[in-house]
Symmetry: C2
């Protein structure tokens, strides 16, 4: 029997699953901590793969990894939360170890691929996926193909300047949409409003998550509602830009912040439809939340493994 193996590497944990050919539910699935005192992340990853490796033939291994990476050469350029992974030739290491073709993809790109093949994007030929959580990442499907660009660094949909004199983004540039609309941006803005005297049930000076803000909004908290509306506005503005750039038939929004429901999506959709230059961009445009939840990385890695030729 033929199998595919999918791996989703994060800074905290690594998940791996083995799928029988043409099946979307795994035969085996396991997770481990990415870091441990007795072994390197690469050793831990190899050990994890050995533990789920099936009898029979593995036709391909797909790996979703964080940070900028080179999907053509299979090199992790820098994984911010994994010490030592700088210019790490992960594809080479795994192919040598397992003697099986391996492909590597950026986690947000593969999430787009996963949603397109198995999730909310099924049947669409042109889609934009954007994940809004601690950061904002993206992936784009054009004519049923993943947009990678010359060196695999395309589709950084969170890193476009939308307000040149806005706050500084995690990447160091000013006014990126990530700096305006991500989870931390939400929390920062809410804290500032509270410090400026706006009444709120949100705790002051503490780390507040998008989930906290979403729950406060449900209870009618005006600061929380305004914070989500502000994020929604900037996301909508960015998505109007992306409609004019890509003319997609579907926009899929994932990540923790997307779980805050209509407090985010209402203002987002309003800003989007008010800012497209022609209503033609809205015709037959589907806007939805991601469908695959925590499995999106694995499903994307599976789709990648299946595409290895």
């Amino acid at each position: 029997m033929n199998y595919f193996i999918a791996v989703d590497i994060g800074g905290t944990q690594i998940r791996a699953a083995c799928y029988p050919e043409d099946k979307q539910s795994p035969k085996t699935i396991k997770r481990i901590s990415t870091q441990g005192s007795d072994s390197t992340p690469l050793e831990r990853l190899i050990h994890l793969l050995e533990s789920i490796w099936p009898e029979g033939n593995v036709a391909g291994v797909g790996v979703a990894a964080p940070g900028p990476l080179d999907p053509f050469q299979g090199i992790v350029i820098e994984a911010p939360n994994i010490p030592g992974w700088v210019n790490m030739p992960l594809q080479h290491h795994l192919e040598e170890q397992f003697n099986t073709p391996v492909a590597l993809g950026n986690d947000a790109n593969l999430a787009a691929l996963g949603e397109w093949k198995y999730g909310a994007g099924r049947g669409f030929h042109h889609l934009i996926y954007i994940t809004v959580s601690t950061g904002i990442g993206g992936g784009v499907i054009i004519d049923d193909r993943l947009l990678l660009g010359e060196r695999g660094l395309a589709a950084e949909l969170g890193h476009v300047t939308i307000l040149p004199d806005g706050p500084i983004c995690s990447c160091g540039q000013p006014g990126h949409v990530e700096a305006m609309a991500s989870g931390p941006a939400l929390a920062r803005w809410a804290q500032q409003e509270i410090q400026n005297g706006s009444p709120s049930i949100l705790p002051v000076g503490k780390d507040v998550t998008a989930k906290d803000i979403g729950e406060a909004a449900k209870q009618g908290d005006q600061v929380a509602i305004a914070a989500l509306a502000r994020s929604g506005y900037y996301l909508g503005l960015a998505l109007a830009n992306y409609c004019q750039i890509f003319n997609p038939s579907a926009i899929i929004i994932g990540g923790g912040v997307s779980q805050t429901g209509h407090f985010l999506f209402g203002p987002l959709k309003t800003a989007l439809s008010e800012h497209v230059m022609s209503s033609d961009y809205m015709k037959n445009l589907t806007i939805s939340t991601a469908a695959l939840g925590d499995d999106v990385g694995l499903m994307g890695a599976l789709a990648l493994a299946q595409s290895i030729k």
Copy 2:
């Protein structure tokens, strides 16, 4: 012998040329005014094509047309400067008249295709073309294919919000890069500076072109120099966004404003390199002016005609 016919339709004139197969220089080339008192633009176009139609077989006709259009159905949705061309099924009309396959493309998209196949973009697989004149248009080549999107409305690279509270664009939206950096935006800003008391050799209250501003800049005019630097800055900022979105290997800049040389390109390149989130985007990135000049529409239409299957 086989031939291809290329047509470039503008609000003022229509150009058409007949190319022997595998040749880039035309056997025949003609131009007429788009509008006349005795015939409609469509009748004039048909007459023009009849006048250059060769003996032998025409394998395809490629047509570059302005304004939003549907390249899949060959319909001009709206050509702003051609009265009556609203939802005009141009492909259908021409195919019926000439019994030959016809394809239609947006002029900026086809300029990108022309530069990629015959101009400054030869040999690049991922390129961004941007034309800066009265408006700002764009075209994108990804993996040697033109980006069209679901309905052919993609690559509107002049119509992205870059300053939400900036001036209103010709399309009605605020702060688009077209409203910040096009020829009219240049002139508007310069006039304002002069009215605010800045000394300048530019005439006051008159229509000033990008060419006038470029010449004044050469003579050391500080308002002209600052106006071009401002346009260059916003173009550079937008191009940094596009690098993160498309990760191209070439950026080609055409249109009248691009003829102002280093007064524009200096600040543009500075803003671009300062605003990309990682220097990886600048590695092996070629930035150049368009090579095909006034022939870009015809050469793009030729490339389109050659791609008809």
